[in-house]
Subunit: 339 residues, 2 copies
DNA sequence: GATGTTGCTTTGAACGATCCAGCCATGATG
DNA sequence: CATCATGGCTGGATCGTTCAAAGCAACATC
């Protein structure tokens, strides 16, 4: 507070004067130590340590024209349960970015167009070097517009319908629900239902298609219910599907799955050692409830995204601009409180 | 992508040359329009619009020594349910900061000391102007160290035991649980239990004390159970408290509360039109389940914090460095699916 | 002895903005 | 007429860094 003007902050110049070398030599000690003679290097390093010098990110940014910041829009939390996955994503994104010297700069905007506008402004003003998008959908205008404005962009989620454009990483949700479905088949179930989301919803349709592939030949097409997301909707949908003769359920989200669990319990359906309901996203709540769930490799996605945008920023070509990662099925036995 | 070098980015100098005035005049049009003669101003504004000029945040920051960024550590998500409140906080923090021209810069670190170190580095390197802390606790070293390093800091959560130090905003959790307890009393309950968190936990003890004040004179001291947070623990604790004769419950979190709800249901306890369990934080899940809950004024907290740190950054004195806001009790009727 | 070559270091020139002191008309005041 | 204040604008200096080019020994090569 009162220390502000006690000692002026050390800079390259002040350090250089102090040690008796030029500023560039000090700069080299920091950025290219190998070009400086070891003796000189040590002297400079000692002075740096003694003074507590930190390079000014801003001075550096002005010269290099790189702020080492990535812009990212923070979406409002819709649902505490499913929000957990965006939380994980944000955390790992920040972590991976930090690992490569970048930091994540948050944005809150009203809609997609404001997002594009703000990101463009920030990019033009050199506040951010690139953008990380989420919540992509068919017809999403953001990737194109950002590219047109020259903003390097990567997206978590494919640009549905235009998968060959842009730079993105996505999870093969269909493969996840298919694996879940086949697992239930392997347990002997032949009437497997799917609780999904109302259309249009690209992610939801993808997951639904995985289930369809999984139940191929079983004639389960009547066991599909699509609603909005939520515990209540999950419970209602499950009741209906059970009434139609379903014995096992695959769900598009953990919220729907947890809702379905309560329906099973209320109706005291005789099940094996665990209730045959499989959720999606493997959220902490699913873990707590002991529900099986399809887990997205969120951390791997972040790592891939950061890797992609940094190579892009270095002007290097990407070997692969479109990456699809496989989810894994996490099986649990409902050791939960509410068994 | 290929537009990069087509036209060099406009700058104050290029605009000034173009319009035929000095750079300072263009700068004034942007920052102090009132000192420029209207005629000149219009010409400059026209050129700005035509060129799509954006002031370079970096050039500006170098000169003003303000990056307009606030550092904030992102904690890992412990629990999808309670994580929702941190999510809300982050969102509103970013929004409020943006309203004053600041942006939030995320950090992920392993522990408190790394947090202090990183924030100090970023501050020294002029990457951030100040820091916003959360998850404060008794003996928390962070505020003191950051102040010692000259990093302007505000915290969401008081520095327990040293409430007269630092700059912080907190919610009066005890007032919330007390109100919840009194509400249950007004419904006729005389055996009101509390499901809390294991000690030591300053926030939890605060909430527990509110309950204690609320049940004063009822002799409910035996109806206290403190555990780790979670649905399972909530259910177990509730069973135990019901066995001890409790008829209504106040909980330190929505997780515990939701767990408690399931215990009520399993035991088919006769209740009125709604189950007398009150949670804390009013998370989306509580809303979905129809559970009453104590709601923190998260947005007001963010606003206050941003207001405090910005006035501090402007070198202006704070009239009040310690702010406590009251939570509100949100009553619901369990119109939920699982009634 | 002239000419490279190598290893280490220095110097000038940006990068894009704001601060600050000063300049120049114009008009008011004594 | 001299003096001073004022509105509007300008230009130098500065913030801290890196890039590009050049300087300068010492040593090897022809």
């Amino acid at each position: 507070m009162t220390f502000d003007q006690r000692t002026p902050k050390p800079t390259l110049v002040s350090l250089a004067r102090q040690v008796g070398v030029s500023r560039q030599t000090v700069s080299n000690v920091i950025n290219n130590p190998e070009v400086v003679k070891p003796g000189t290097r040590e002297k400079v390093l000692a002075a740096i340590r003694a003074s507590g010098y930190r390079p000014s990110a801003i001075g550096r940014a002005l010269r290099t024209r790189r702020s080492m910041n990535l812009g990212h829009r923070l979406f409002p939390v819709a649902d505490g349960i499913n929000g957990a996955i965006m939380d994980r994503f944000l955390h790992s994104l920040s972590e991976e970015a930090q690992g490569r010297g970048f930091r994540v700069n948050l944005l809150t905007v009203e809609d997609d167009l404001h997002e594009v506008e703000t990101l463009t402004d920030l990019h033009q003003g050199l506040s951010i070097d690139g953008a990380v998008l989420t919540h992509t959908y068919a017809g999403d205008p953001r990737p194109d517009r950002l590219e047109a404005s020259g903003v390097p962009t990567v997206a978590w989620g494919r640009p549905w319908g235009k998968e060959d454009t842009g730079t993105w990483v996505d999870v093969d949700g269909g493969a996840g629900t298919e694996e879940a479905t086949l697992h239930l088949r392997s347990l002997g179930h032949t009437r497997i239902g799917f609780l999904g989301w109302q259309r249009p919803n690209n992610v939801g349709e993808d997951r639904c298609n995985g289930w369809l592939r999984g139940v191929a030949g079983l004639g389960c097409e009547d066991l599909l219910i699509e609603s909005t997301d939520g515990l209540y909707e999950g419970a209602q949908g499950a009741k209906e599907l059970l009434a139609r003769g379903a014995t096992a359920l695959v769900c598009a989200s953990d919220s729907l799955g947890l809702g379905a669990l309560t329906a099973y319990r209320q109706q005291a359906i005789p099940t094996g050692p665990s209730i045959p309901v499989i959720g999606f996203d493997d959220t902490p709540v699913a873990r707590a409830a002991g529900m099986s769930s399809v887990a997205q490799p969120v951390e791997a996605c972040s790592r891939q995204l950061v890797s992609m945008i940094t190579t892009q920023l270095q002007g290097m070509p990407l070997e692969n601009s479109h990456v699809i990662l496989k989810p894994t099925l996490v099986l649990r036995n409902l050791q939960s409180f509410a068994r």
